[in-house]
Assembly symmetry: C2
Homo-oligomer: 253 residues x 2
């Protein structure tokens, strides 16, 4: 069950420190071409690249993968058609198209010695990215992806046990003990790597709640709980960015 | 720039005809494990598997990759937290998590000789899938993925030229001729493979518009235009499925 593809995937790490070496144009094009060959609904994506701007973590390559309905609408116009599909459905398909291509880029990069890190905040910076790259309407930045040769090394990060991920025929009724066992795999795994203490990544508690954690016991489940327990309360921030890019998820105006 | 990973990706095909051979449990587990190791926001996914039900295209494996907030909420409760993040943002992150894992599964499968095909209608069948697999609330079926050993062979399908996909520093102002050139690559590529005539896949025109196409000239851009020019007009079908699974994208009730 072992081969270079499986090995590359199991060896994945999100890297946050890069060498300055600039990958060649040929490498960049190979990675994007491998991305393009992913399965798609309608190739509803575009890839932005910046090699001049100072990228996060000092990466030489800074991609932003976008959901792109503009190209679709341009060619549909030439064919005498107008998009009638609602924007929410288009986003569901477009996000998948863009993500399938992005993940191929991640793995293709790693097969060539380039590691990467997704930057999930792009949707919340859509207006600024649109201005920087002069995006036409109906192009929405989904995710940033910095890439380069790694200047740090560490083992792959832990994942849930397979029994907490793959469910045949029916979704199990988990007991609290079973949930706690899956949490422990994640928490012990990150603690053993000293991940949060090295990154100084502890998220402060902003609500009325005592912080019972030090870097000795602060790990993945507490970290993730503090994100989704405190951040992004209102959908307005995202719907506003979508609206400015020409997307109305609750129906056309 | 060539290696087994890039080769596997460039060789991708979505297969719609399978041999009956059932892949071993070890193969299935290897594929899902490779999927799990993809980068993620918070492992907001689960993978359903059916090997008993008659799958589309006679495939031996029928996966459904879901956005899963249920497991997150179970462990957050144990940690003394509640999700406050809005559902739209959670879906943006969750769809990406699920899609990154799904695309790793596609490529891992192909490296082991198993090909696959995404089935995009899962979100519109969410209620039925939830009943079949006894899904808890806050688990949303994103995409089906049938997989098996291929019983058909054909070349990889065409893709947009790189110049219509990768944009450095700024998004180009395409002329109609440039758009038409990208369309021609797709249309000529699919016509040369006889794709639509073999699949008998022409989409009927349901609106007041003359059908000027035969299988001699019906190709990718016309096909795609007929989808998004006719299907899924209202977001209600999708928001209703989301609502039944416990997602309110316009804000909690």
């Amino acid at each position: 069950m072992d081969n270079p593809v499986i090995q590359t995937m199991l060896n994945h790490r999100s890297v946050r420190k890069y060498k300055k070496d600039q990958p060649s144009d040929e490498i960049v094009e190979t990675i994007v071409r491998a991305g393009q060959q992913a399965p798609f609904a309608s190739q509803l994506y575009s890839v932005l690249l910046s090699r001049k701007k100072k990228a996060p973590f000092g990466a030489p390559l800074w991609f932003i993968i976008c959901v792109d309905l503009y190209k679709l609408e341009r060619f549909m116009k030439i064919r005498g058609w107008e998009v009638v599909t609602n924007d929410l459905s288009l986003l569901f398909f477009g996000i998948q198209d863009a993500a399938y291509m992005a993940q191929n880029m991640v793995v293709a990069g790693e097969s060539l010695g380039l590691f990467s890190c997704f930057l999930g905040a792009a949707p919340y910076q859509a207006e600024r990215i649109a201005r920087d790259f002069k995006l036409p309407p109906r192009v929405f930045p989904l995710v940033g992806l910095v890439m380069g040769y790694p200047a740090e090394d560490f083992p792959p990060r832990p994942r849930y046990p397979l029994s907490f991920t793959l469910f045949e025929d029916r979704y199990p009724e988990f007991t609290d003990d079973e949930v706690a066992a899956a949490m422990k795999v994640m928490d012990d795994g990150y603690l053993a790597q000293g991940y949060y203490v090295k990154q100084k990544a502890k998220i402060p508690i902003e609500v009325d709640k005592k912080d019972a954690f030090t870097y000795d016991n602060y790990s993945w489940t507490e970290h993730i709980a503090r994100k989704w327990g405190q951040w992004y309360r209102s959908p307005e921030e995202l719907t506003e960015q979508l609206r400015k890019r020409g997307f109305e998820i609750t129906g056309k105006e």
